[in-house]
């Protein structure tokens, strides 16, 4: 793989999951060593054996999952590992660090209080801390790994301004993303990666989202929102009536949520992570008791906090945490497929499991859903994200559900996997299943949903018809209705 970026440039790395974006950045930051080839920095040959080497050379990275110490203050996180002046000051000088952090945050528009503790900060603020860390270490090259995945459109806009300001200072920004419009908005140059190779580097002015997309997947893909406008929705299947529920910390995480999903309809729930989406899904499927209000499926109330009751009523669930809640990672694919059906024939006969039947069932699922695995005996954790999700979907659909709750069903999947999941969700709706799609990916919701409900701080702050909704409009609702800029 060849890759080159100039000083003062915002260079986007575009590619599907598994295209090698993260591996490349891990090599650049010294976490991995290249098997072959070399890295040159400002014309000099360098070799990174550890993250410290890379930091010393001025290469820093903002990981997708933040590398922050949550009980520490912002200033403590920023100074962590900094050893350039150990000789001069063995002791920490909090005042000096705090004022330097303050200065940097003002210069680059990274508003965050130096003395705040990380766990008190929002995700967007935490990301600013990560960038401050890099700036404090005088990073000349800054790698941002999918930085907008956790941000509202407004926060993303602010981040883009920071990126431009840093580039204007002569720093090189490497911007990893798979979102075409973002790359178009912020980058100067874009390098497209596919299966571990760089397939092209083009100036952004010469690129169109369409040309980039086809470079990325190697063939043209259809994009855009739902064209047909969907079928006429049927009767109300899933109804939430003024539901309240507590979050893990005992504070109300769902506030007075009322929502109806009809047969054959896809309702998208948009929102920034942590605004009650997880609690919403868990309350519907009975994993979290509602403190007030009622969840009804086809007019019949579901008993509070009873997952088995919800399953019995025909609610299927594709959980957000695929490997933890979605499957039992240590069990085989076959066992996972029958995880909800093992109590009834043909999977069991009285208390005895019928392993051959289960195996056959699994084989059928593997074939029908095109799960790439060497057989039904393979433990689930060995499957890739996309294949795992197929197993989950297969299991959930096999119970012939009337309603489906899908939480972030495509998170972490590559383009092909996303397409598969999307087509299954559409299929389900066509068969008359009421689909509730909870996702932080606004594009996904705009593409699939008939109706969009926006969650903010546990409440549904607005509902829009998907055919007329705009990303800007929804983005404003996601940010609590305040104008971000």
């Amino acid at each position: 793989m060849d890759f080159e970026a100039a000083a003062g440039e915002v260079h986007a790395l575009l590619g599907e999951n598994g295209a090698g974006k993260t591996t490349l950045s891990n090599i650049l930051t010294g976490l991995y060593r290249p098997d072959e080839g070399h890295i040159e920095l400002f014309g000099e040959h360098v070799e990174f054996n550890s993250p410290r080497d890379a930091l010393d050379a001025g290469v820093a990275m903002v990981h997708q999952h933040f590398r922050l110490v949550s009980p520490f203050t912002v200033a403590e996180n920023v100074v962590l590992g900094d050893h350039r002046d150990v000789g001069r000051s063995f002791f920490l000088r909090p005042r000096a660090i705090e004022s330097r952090v303050e200065e940097l945050s003002q210069r680059y528009g990274l508003a965050v209080a130096p003395r705040a503790r990380i766990w008190q900060l929002s995700v967007g603020e935490q990301q600013r801390v990560e960038i401050l860390k890099a700036l404090y270490q005088d990073a000349r090259i800054l790698i941002l790994d999918e930085p907008t995945a956790v941000l509202t459109p407004q926060e993303a806009g602010a981040l883009f301004e920071t990126i431009r300001a840093m580039a204007a200072d002569g720093r090189t920004i490497i911007f990893i993303s798979h979102k075409l419009h973002e790359v178009k908005a912020v980058a100067d140059q874009v390098t497209v990666l596919r299966r571990g190779q760089s397939v092209a580097t083009v100036p952004i002015v010469d690129a169109t989202p369409r040309s980039l997309a086809s470079l990325m997947v190697g063939h043209e893909i259809e994009a855009g929102r739902r064209q047909d406008g969907g079928q006429e929705p049927g009767e109300a299947v899933l109804e939430l009536d003024e539901v309240w529920a507590d979050g893990d910390r005992g504070v109300a995480a769902l506030r007075d949520v009322s929502l109806t999903v009809c047969a054959g309809e896809i309702v998208g729930v948009a929102g920034v992570a942590g605004n009650g989406q997880r609690e919403l899904a868990e309350t519907i499927v009975g994993m979290r008791p509602a403190t007030a209000g009622k969840v009804r499926v086809r007019g019949r109330g579901i008993r509070n906090g009873d997952p088995r009751g919800a399953i019995g009523a025909g609610v299927a669930y594709v959980p957000e945490d695929r490997l933890g809640t979605g499957v039992a990672p240590g069990l085989s694919v076959a066992s996972n497929v029958v995880l909800k059906a093992y109590r009834e024939p043909p999977a069991s006969h009285g208390p005895i499991l019928r392993t051959r039947r289960i195996r056959e069932l699994a084989e059928r699922v593997i074939e029908r859903y095109d799960v790439r695995t060497s057989g039904p005996h393979v433990p689930a954790w060995q499957l890739s994200g996309g294949n795992l999700q197929k197993v989950v979907l297969a299991r959930e659909f096999s119970g012939e559900p009337v309603a489906l709750v899908a939480a972030a069903p495509t998170r972490g999947l590559d383009v092909a996997g996303i397409e598969t999941v999307h087509s299954y969700l559409r299929e389900a709706a066509e068969r008359g299943v009421a689909v509730l799609l909870i996702s932080e990916d606004l594009d996904e919701i705009l593409m699939l949903a008939d109706r969009i409900a926006v969650m903010y701080e546990g409440s549904i702050v607005g509902e829009r018809d998907a055919r007329v909704a705009t990303a800007r409009d929804i983005g404003l609702l996601m940010a609590g209705g305040e104008d971000g800029d």
């Binding site: 550890s50 993250p51 890379a54 110490v69 050893h83 150990v86 002791f91 910390r249």
Partner: protein
């Protein structure tokens, strides 16, 4: 006045708490770097037996012999901790299993007993021991005499250690790195802090502290070698780290608190009251459970709770 129950209990509480304090400070350092070492009891016994052996076999001036004994005890503790460190840091073995194995291997009826028997150490008092260092005039002062001035050198050294460890963790860059390694090794690693190096260093130093704690028994409190001399002090030290919310200064308070529980039955006996010492020995654990309940809320856990990565092996993630 200096013979009153309260003064006696406090003065001997300080002495009895000192081995706990050393061991807990060591365990605190290891735990702050993310390594749980349940081998404290074993490391203490190794320190106790090797320290005692040094005093028996080395012939030199008293201060030199005692200094050498403390050094040997520290080395023995560190050597034991090295086994644990290798297993849990390099091989990423389960820390609980490895720590328990270490205590069984080195503890009572283990290596320390073997050494004690093989070197014929039991049944005689130490040739040299740590004694009170202040003159009698100071020691006879009311209250502060026995409590402050009536202690052996190891007590005063432990106070210095508390101050040093507290400053080290809260005020130095290296200390910040240690805390980061224990809270979020991935964050520390990404910032160029070597997680294994920090964990090895603090586990070993932790072992050395436990060794010195053990030697405090055999060279000052008892002062002789008996099989299983520490009587579970290593376990109390581990509880003490939790009780003190991983704070060195609270460790000191807790150690003397627990030390006083140990002293109380003996002092009461002197006043003609008989209570079962076993019952009193359970009080530290009760206190620890109460402390755990008090900090069980999320906000409290983030501020006072265990280092987030405690007990978890660290490997750079794939991807």
């Amino acid at each position: 006045m200096n013979n009153s129950l309260v003064v006696v209990v406090i003065a001997s509480g300080v002495l009895f708490g000192t081995p706990l304090l050393y061991a807990a400070l060591g365990e605190l350092l290891a735990e702050r770097s993310g390594v749980l070492n349940l081998g404290v009891e074993g490391m203490m016994l190794m320190g106790a037996v090797t320290g005692f052996w040094t005093v028996e076999r080395v012939h030199a001036a008293r201060p030199l012999v005692l200094a050498a004994a403390v050094g040997v005890a520290a080395l023995a503790g560190a050597a034991m901790a090295a086994i644990h460190a290798f297993l849990v840091i390099t091989l990423r073995a389960n820390q609980i299993v490895s720590g328990l194995a270490l205590t069984i291997f080195a503890g009572a009826a283990g290596l320390s007993s073997y050494l004690g028997n093989d070197l014929h150490l039991s049944g005689k008092p130490a040739r040299y021991q740590f004694q009170e260092i202040f003159p009698k005039s100071l020691r006879d002062l009311p209250i502060v005499g026995p409590v402050i001035f009536g202690q052996p050198l190891l007590v005063y050294a432990s106070w210095a250690c508390v101050v040093l460890v507290a400053l080290y963790l809260s005020r130095t860059r290296v200390g910040l790195n240690v805390r980061a390694v224990g809270e979020s090794p991935a964050a520390a690693d990404a910032m160029g802090v070597s997680v294994p190096r920090y964990r090895y260093a603090h586990t070993l130093v932790g072992g050395a502290f436990a060794g010195i704690g053990g030697a405090t028994f055999s060279l000052s409190i008892t002062p002789q070698w008996v099989d299983g001399l520490t009587e579970g002090a290593g376990w109390i030290a581990i509880a003490l780290v939790i009780f003190s919310f991983w704070r060195p200064t609270l460790c000191l308070v807790g150690a003397y608190f627990f030390g006083a529980f140990k002293a109380l039955p003996f002092a009461l006996q002197g006043h003609g009251v008989t209570v079962a010492p076993e019952l009193f020995q359970t009080l530290p654990y009760v206190a620890t459970i109460i402390a755990l309940v008090l900090v069980s809320s999320r906000a409290a856990r983030l501020r006072f709770g265990a280092p987030a990565a405690l007990g978890l092996p660290y490997a750079r993630e794939e991807r």
